[in-house]
């Protein structure tokens, strides 16, 4: 009998994605621990990781990190395949698509703050539409739109600023050792 060994080669890219996803999952847990006045209004700290990854490693890596974050985050918090998981998945998918389009904006004018705000709006927009179509099939859900949109603007700006700060610090650390 021949022994077959299945060996998966782990590339540096894989390790990087794993580390970044871990950071994102950690921030998701912090997010979940912050009390919220309304379900759905959350800082979305893990998006900081997505923004940094997008700027440093590109969109493909950002998609990987986000997908792993949604999966592992939902498993850890116990809502895997529950409605919250699909809300999270829809929001993340739409905000990634938005980021994919928005990253082509001229970087001289539009920084992480713009990307973060646009992604936050896409995120909450996707969640509202899914909630309307599936969870609460009544136009009453849209009554919450101004609150969600306001929260998206505030937290989107804050997350964008933190991401911009992180990117600026790592950039200056690399150029001046």
């Amino acid at each position: 009998m021949t022994q077959s060994v299945i060996k998966l080669t782990v590339t540096a890219e894989d390790r990087r994605v794993a580390w970044l996803a871990t950071a994102a999952v950690g921030l998701s847990l912090v997010d979940a621990a912050i009390p919220s006045p309304l379900p759905g209004v959350k800082p979305g700290l893990a998006n900081i990781v997505t923004l940094v990854v997008l700027a440093r490693y590109g969109w493909g890596t950002a998609v990987w990190v986000s997908a792993l974050r949604v999966l592992a985050g939902s498993l850890l918090l116990g809502y895997f395949l529950a409605p919250g998981f699909f809300l999270s998945l829809t929001g993340t998918t739409l905000s990634l698509l938005t980021l994919g389009a928005a990253q082509h904006l001229p970087t001289r004018w539009f920084g992480p703050v713009s990307l973060s705000i646009l992604a936050a709006f896409a995120h909450i927009g996707g969640q509202l539409l899914l909630a309307r179509a599936w969870l609460i099939p009544h136009d009453g859900v849209f009554l919450l739109t101004p609150i969600f949109a306001g929260a998206a603007l505030v937290f989107g700006t804050l997350n964008g600023l933190i991401a911009a700060k992180l990117l600026a610090e790592t950039a200056s650390a690399e150029t001046s050792p």
Binding site: L143, A149, A164
Partner: protein, 125 residues
């Protein structure tokens, strides 16, 4: 503080401002009709009473089947009891938003919430 402001690029300000305007405009769009401030009680299609949603009040409205009891409280109103067989208007519970309406069709009584501006929907229009 200054170092944080330096992180916002010119276009970011545009996005920030544009989003703030959008959020501002979303308030009247999604919260049309403003706050609920009156309840209109109708009997046989005619206005039976128009009450400010400020004080606690009870109304007994007569219809072909019997008496419909309507309760008004600060900011909301509801049908407390009704002789209709299926009790749809009672089960609707509290009405709080402008444009919301509970119709007790068999007894020909309805309660509608009104705000400062008129809200149209497929029933009331």
């Amino acid at each position: 503080m200054k170092s944080w402001l330096a992180l916002i690029r010119p276009g970011d300000w545009l996005v920030l401002l544009g989003s703030a305007v959008l959020v501002g405009f979303s308030v009247p769009v999604f919260w049309q009709g403003g706050m609920a401030d009156r309840a209109i009680i109708r009997q046989e299609g005619k206005v039976f009473a128009e009450v400010d949603l400020k004080a606690r009040k009870q109304f007994a409205v007569g219809g072909p089947l019997g008496t419909t009891l309507i309760a008004v409280e600060p900011g909301r109103a509801r049908v407390v009891s009704d002789p209709s067989p299926r009790q749809y208007c009672v089960r609707q519970g509290w009405l709080m938003r402008p444009g919301e309406i509970a119709i007790c069709a068999p007894n020909r009584v309805s309660v509608q919430i009104a705000g400062r501006t008129k809200v149209y929907d497929s029933i009331s229009y």
